[in-house]
């Protein structure tokens, strides 16, 4: 509800995502992409409809159960990295593993950071890293618990094209290695094209057209 009355953000969405699939959700700003992502990732609750995550219906779950589900099956990458700025790169990567009670969290984190090419930056704080490096830390953090589904919200949105490409390479490589399902929200057509499926969100409706080079997706100005 808003002051102006009822506002429908998403309407008539019906979609399936298969295990190991990678899908990109494209669409202009305010079209409801992030809302959909929040719903799929069990961060938000729909007013009506049903979402099943790895066969489990989300509608019957309370916040605690949703958190437990996320801990077991889901991970995230954000546009603004969302690293804890007072913790080192290593400690940031360790966080989800520690929350999940993984015993050898440190070793795993070191290993993940090595895989994203940051073994020399373990003790650096986020502010001592470049944007690209910070997102690599975030990728390492996302994969440390070997999630079934990875949700990425504009993972390259804050990076220049060279760094964006590197991050995308890394993301898709790790995705393939770990057989993770990837749900990606982006403006970047190039990035979207690397996914197996592309969905377009417009005015709260989702469609799956064939993506062409010419398709115009408005960029959000800084």
């Amino acid at each position: 509800m808003t002051q102006e009355g009822e506002l429908t953000i998403l309407n008539g969405i019906n979609m399936d995502v298969k295990q190991g699939d990678s899908i990109a959700i494209l669409g202009p700003s305010g079209s409801g992409k992030s809302t959909l992502l929040g719903l799929l990732a069990a961060l938000d609750t729909p007013t009506s409809g049903e979402i099943l995550l790895d066969g489990q219906a989300l509608s019957g779950l309370n916040e605690e159960q949703k958190a437990a589900l996320r801990k077991q099956k889901v991970s995230f990458i954000f546009q603004s990295f969302m690293l804890v700025d007072t913790l080192t790169a290593l400690e940031n990567v360790m966080l989800p593993a520690e929350l999940a009670g993984v015993v050898n969290a440190r070793e795993k984190a070191e290993n993940m950071l090595e895989r994203v090419g940051l073994s020399h930056r373990l003790t650096h704080l986020p502010k001592q890293l470049s944007g690209g490096e910070q997102q690599r830390v975030a990728i390492a953090r996302a994969f440390i618990c070997e999630p079934k589904v990875l949700f990425a919200d504009e993972p390259t949105g804050n990076l220049d094209s060279a760094n964006g490409d590197k991050i995308a390479d890394m993301l898709f490589a790790l995705n393939q290695e770990s057989d993770t399902t990837l749900v990606l929200v982006t403006h970047d057509l190039e990035l979207a094209k690397r996914c197996k499926r592309q969905l377009v969100m417009e005015n709260g409706h989702l469609s799956e057209p064939a993506v062409s080079e010419e398709q115009n997706v408005s960029e959000e100005a800084c």
């Binding site: 992030s34 992502l37 929040g38 990732a41 961060l43 938000d44 916040e63 605690e64 958190a67 437990a68 589900l69 996320r70 801990k71 077991q72 889901v74 991970s75 995230f76 954000f78 603004s80 969302m82 804890v84 007072t86 913790l87 080192t88 400690e91 966080l95 989800p96 520690e98 929350l99 999940a100 009670g101 704080l125 944007g131 919200d153 800084c222």
Partner: protein
């Protein structure tokens, strides 16, 4: 896991300085409480100890008959030392000379506090059996005999007393004192059934035992028995000690309230900074319990660090202060248990109760914030925050002061202050509404900034102003109290009193003083008279009233009356006027109230068997604590001139002044000459007492300065915390303005001006509220003269502007120097 994570987060944040403010705020609260508790306890003991020297004991029971044994047994059971003395008047004879003296017959152990000063030096001994010590006046009056007859016995005069610790201050004490042993009284045969004797029981012991003793012993006393302690009002320092105690307590409570406010603001900032962390942790699946535990432990670590630092700080404060205290006070070490307990509970209560609300909001942050950054979760009612904060303040106040009334007063005052400042602050910021939103002129940009953040600024304003109000209040009170004491005991306060000056001695005495370059402060004629009637109604005595007589109760002793053309200094007329007619009298206000007098009443006195009637034309307030001759009744000369009188005078004399005046004599030498030349004049040396009083006042002043320093620190912390609180939004705005091409100079000037304006408004508000608070405190609590602090009206806004602008600019300096992209990234 949570412990490990909490520890890691704590360690990192601490190293990066992010916890500085909240740790500092907790440290300051704990330091103030633990340090002040110990220092004030030490000073309290010192002050009471000094004061006890004035009554030669900690507590006294005065009784017209021997005291119930039960009371003495009670004292012994509480490990309280006691000594029994008798006081009565009697005539002593030496050859053909005789003199009325006050006999002080004392038991072993007298004096329990203080020392007896003999002309040969200080002693703790007592006269031997068959001996007596005499006050120096008596020697002069009787021609320095070696023995005296008292009743059936003859006593050897073995020493001359310069001062007894419980001599009190009464230049009118008509009869000199003779000190003897209590055991010798029986042999004199003077005390018969019905004799007027005062039994004086003196007690001394530990503070806690004395309190217990007071609680249990007081109900055992009857109406004729009088309980006295150092604050009972008789001692000249009683009011100074009482005021200082009230001030210390009040200032400490306000200091704690300020430190709490700093904790509150810092806690809010602490929680806000963790919003994203909580959202992120929840997104990655952390359960509510995990997050609660994590931040519970994290806050506990912060609190423990604050408490430990605070306790260390308190200890250092205590050690530091000790360096300035006289050795005998420094040697007294009160137990550490109370300051320790107070410090720890203050840390825990303030940290957790002030953080409770921000923490609840933090824990309620929804995970969706990772995608929608503006989300802040549940909005709990502000009343809950207010309730918890006031509750914490009340709990702490009570723990510290152990007085519900005082605690409630402070809490209500703080609440009122907050409400008042919020309304005023919001209204003042809204006043800037008419100014346009141009971004070319730094002043307009600053005004626009103030208005845009009206709500946030109103909150900041409350913080700034409260800190300034409390600071100004404490500053003014401290200054007034110090001035008051200074006035009471100026450098040239008289240290010698001359009484019994015969009219024919007045001129030669004047010459003697002149030749020794001594300036006598005042000469007062003293005439003794008894008040007999008010408006032709005969007055009855208290004893007659007890026996069933009806009527107005008068004053059952002779009064010392004086006359003057104008009222002496330190006498403030509260009602009426003086110097209108020849047959008028000015009456001291308290006596007037006791006698039920009104202006224009007629009072009749019996002087030398003649009736003198005068009209009451004024009431006066007299500062009894000043070492000045004070009178209940002051007449106009015409009314009393026909009667015989003696005079009294006082002067200040010390060796240094004499040397400067070119005299070879010492003060003692001059006084000796004076006594030899005028044997009938009694010289009373109050120098020792003045010195003692000064020492007490210096100690009290020290404690006041200490509290002021702590309040200053707490205020500064509130200011810093408050500046810190608005940084996040400011950063975003700077980024936007910078992006749109605002120059560095414009942004710096606008930011500086905005803070300066905020500081200036806070300064004005603070002066208004502080003047009001001071009016209330001075009239209701401290009995001080009320006046406006005009210079503050200029200084406070200016200082407020300067300090807040400095703090704001200092805090913003990095933001102001950052490039657009850095700002946007950080925002």
């Amino acid at each position: 896991m949570e412990l490990q994570l909490a520890w890691r987060l704590f360690k990192r944040e601490l190293m990066q300085g992010q916890l500085l403010l909240i740790v500092l705020a907790i440290t300051l609260a704990v330091l103030s409480v633990s340090g002040l508790a110990r220092v004030s306890e030490r000073l309290q003991v010192a002050i009471n100890g000094e004061a006890a020297n004035f009554i030669a004991a900690d507590r006294i029971i005065d009784s017209p008959a021997p005291l119930d044994e039960q009371v003495l047994i009670l004292a012994e059971s509480l490990d309280i030392k006691h000594v029994t003395n008798m006081k009565f008047n009697s005539m002593v004879y030496s050859g053909d000379n005789f003199q009325l003296v006050t006999i002080k017959a004392v038991g072993d152990g007298y004096p329990l506090r203080g020392e007896i000063e003999l002309s040969s030096g200080i002693t703790q001994a007592l006269p031997l059996t068959g001996e007596a010590w005499y006050e120096n006046r008596l020697g002069g009056l009787l021609g320095y005999p070696t023995t005296l007859e008292l009743g059936n016995t003859e006593l050897n005069l073995s020493a001359e007393i310069s001062r007894l610790p419980d001599a009190g201050f009464n230049p009118f004490a008509s009869s000199p004192v003779l000190l003897m042993r209590l055991d010798d009284v029986d042999a004199t045969g003077i005390i018969q059934p019905g004799s007027r004797v005062s039994y004086v029981y003196q007690f001394a012991g530990e503070a806690a035992a004395l309190t217990e003793f007071e609680t249990q012993a007081k109900p055992l006393l009857n109406n004729s028995q009088r309980w006295t302690d150092v604050q009972s009002g008789d001692s000249p320092i009683a009011s100074a000690v009482k005021r200082a105690e009230r001030f210390l307590l009040l200032a400490s409570l306000l200091g704690i309230a300020l430190a709490c406010a700093a904790i509150g603001i810092a806690a809010q900032r602490y929680c806000q900074r963790h919003y994203d962390v909580v959202a992120m942790l929840k997104t990655f699946g952390a359960s509510s319990k995990q997050i609660r535990t994590l931040f519970g432990i994290h806050l506990m670590l912060v609190t423990v660090l604050g408490i430990v630092l605070g306790l260390i700080g308190g200890l250092l404060l205590d050690i530091g202060i000790n360096q300035f205290l006289p050795a005998e006070i420094a040697a007294y070490s009160p137990p550490y248990s109370r300051p320790l307990l107070l410090g720890v509970s203050t840390g825990l209560i303030s940290a957790f109760m002030f953080s409770a609300y921000p923490l609840m909001r933090l824990l309620a942050i929804p995970p969706l914030r990772v995608l929608q950054r503006q989300l802040e979760g549940l909005q709990f009612g502000m009343w809950l925050h207010l309730l918890l904060s006031l509750g914490a303040m009340a709990l702490l106040g009570y723990l510290y002061s152990r007085s519900i009334a005082l605690t409630m007063t402070v809490v209500l005052a703080v609440l009122l202050l907050g409400v008042l400042l919020s309304i005023l602050g919001f209204a003042m910021i809204r006043l800037g509404h008419s100014v346009g939103m141009k971004t070319t002129n730094p002043f307009q940009l600053a005004l626009a900034g103030l208005r845009r953040r009206a709500r946030q600024n109103a909150v900041q304003l409350v913080g700034f102003s409260s800190a300034l109000v409390l600071l100004l209040t404490i500053l003014a009170l401290r200054q007034d109290l110090l001035n008051e004491w200074q006035k009471q005991l100026p450098e040239d306060a008289p240290n010698y009193f001359l009484v019994n000056i015969a009219p024919e001695d007045t001129k030669p005495l004047d010459d003697f003083l002149d030749s020794n370059k001594i300036i006598a402060t005042d000469i007062y004629p003293v005439i003794r008279g008894r008040l007999t009637h008010i408006n032709d109604e005969e007055l009855i005595s208290r004893r007659e009233e007890k026996d069933g007589a009806e009527g107005r109760v008068g004053i059952s002793r002779e009064l010392n009356l004086t006359y003057r053309e104008t009222l002496p200094p330190n006498n403030e007329i509260t009602q009426g006027t003086f110097n209108q007619a020849d047959d008028e009298v000015s009456v001291e206000a308290e006596v007037a109230e006791r006698l039920g007098l009104s202006l224009n009443d007629t009072m009749t006195f019996n002087i030398d068997n003649q009736s003198v009637s005068v009209k009451v034309t004024s009431f006066r307030q007299v500062q009894w604590e000043t070492l000045q001759p004070n009178f209940f009744m002051i007449f106009k000369p015409k009314a009393l001139e026909p009667f015989s009188y003696t005079s009294m005078a006082s002067f200040h004399l010390n060796d240094q002044d004499l040397k400067q005046a070119g005299s070879d004599l010492t003060a003692n030498g001059v006084v000796l000459q004076l006594i030899q030349q005028f044997p009938t004049i009694s010289v009373i040396d109050v120098g020792a007492m003045v010195g003692q009083l000064r020492q007490i006042i210096e100690q009290v002043s020290l404690s006041l300065s200490l509290v002021l320093a702590l309040v200053l620190l707490a205020s500064a912390l509130v200011l810093i915390a408050q500046t810190e609180a608005g940084m996040a939004t400011r950063q975003r705005e700077l980024a936007v303005l910078r992006t749109f091409g605002a120059s560095g100079w414009l942004l710096r000037s606008a930011t500086g001006l905005e803070f300066a304006l905020l500081g200036a408004i806070a300064g004005i508000l603070a002066v208004i509220v502080a003047e009001f608070a001071l009016y209330m405190l001075k009239t209701q609590v401290f009995e001080l003269v009320v006046y406006m602090h005009w210079p503050w009206w200029g200084i406070a806004p200016l200082a407020g502007a300067a300090v807040v602008a400095f703090l704001g600019m200092w805090r913003c300096r990095q933001l102001l120097n950052q490039s657009c992209s850095e700002l946007l990234k950080a925002g």
